[in-house]
Symmetry: C3
Subunit: 169 residues, 3 copies
Amino acid sequence: MNVEDLIAFHEITQLKYRYIRAVDTQDRELLTSVFAKNVRTWYDSGKIVGHGRENAVATLFDSISPTFFSHHIAVHPEISFTSSTTAKGTWRIQDIVHFTAPHPNPSVPDLQGDERLIGAGYYHDEYVKEDGQWKIASTGYVRIFEAVETKLQQHGTRVRVESARGRLN
Amino acid sequence: MNVEDLIAFHEITQLKYRYIRAVDTQDRELLTSVFAKNVRTWYDSGKIVGHGRENAVATLFDSISPTFFSHHIAVHPEISFTSSTTAKGTWRIQDIVHFTAPHPNPSVPDLQGDERLIGAGYYHDEYVKEDGQWKIASTGYVRIFEAVETKLQQHGTRVRVESARGRLN
Amino acid sequence: MNVEDLIAFHEITQLKYRYIRAVDTQDRELLTSVFAKNVRTWYDSGKIVGHGRENAVATLFDSISPTFFSHHIAVHPEISFTSSTTAKGTWRIQDIVHFTAPHPNPSVPDLQGDERLIGAGYYHDEYVKEDGQWKIASTGYVRIFEAVETKLQQHGTRVRVESARGRLN
């Protein structure tokens, strides 16, 4: 490991943090900016798939909604460089999501609102340097587990969500 | 990004980890050491506010108690330098707290003990280099969500807390 | 902090991520590769102890089982170098584990399956450079708290685990 690789590693971590921030603050513009032109996405072992920047952004936003309050963390980056402009890496993912209303997608009948999902898995990513900037060329994850608690209020859980989603006003 | 900035970035992450360790091990001396003289704190979108090192330490310790067993994690640092001695940054926060007794502060009547809080949000921090050392100039957070599970034992949850709070004896 | 230390710090974080990946994907070969020859392990304040690479691997695998679906994260590394080939460090640990069947070890009668553990604490590690590679010389953790939720299904929690444990096939 030399200094150049250490800086590139750092830049890729910054890219990933912006990606996660785009998802959890539901920032479509920021999400677009982190994807490579020909990005491929394959969430949950390929259950949700996107090809190309516009499609990948649209597909991801189809699967979430304003009634989702999501918190993803990506830790344990293990990144290796396959050339001076390409890299691949794995990250541990953990996500906690509060569903405050039924899922807008009729193919997900199990989510009625008043649920919390707590899941974990690994991201398997590829990165590419385009116009001097690292971008996500491919991203997807495979689960270790996923648990959905239902009827939180009935079980005495008080949930508060904030429309700011963590942003400063 | 050059090497000097990478080292400064690293030093600020170390500062943040000491800060979190001070909070979760309830180490008043360590907390004092990470704050700049004129630190400003504004936890939970400004619900708990501190001005100046002594006040900020006192205010934070007023809001926690020996019956709180807290676990905060700060990940996804996005830090930018505004001068050679100042920086600002955001971090994702996640916290899990077990309340083993009623909250000592009468303004928080909802916490009776036997609860667990699981929350997430973003820290919005400022840093300053004082006497050659990075210190926290300002810190606060905005929530994405916060959930409080009540009556854990009644729901079959067995909780074990340790007075060492993770420290080696 | 100079560049050499920053690179060594980085290499130790990579080592730790491989270690966690070995535990959570139950990869015995990978676990063996991260331990120093004379590694010492002392999990949960010394309740589970290993001495030497083979024994440490065996002891850890005795305490887990194919019916455990575990997710550990190690964050907040605070690492200091005690010589050019030795270092020590602390990390915050958080773990979420789903138990899908009774614990195989009869000394753990409380785990009957259909539980979730959510715990937190600190790792206290030592590292040593052997044949030019950083290895774990000693690792153990002390808890802040540990909570075990029982009878998840009865409380309406739907759990899905994946045998891939996050790996790409």
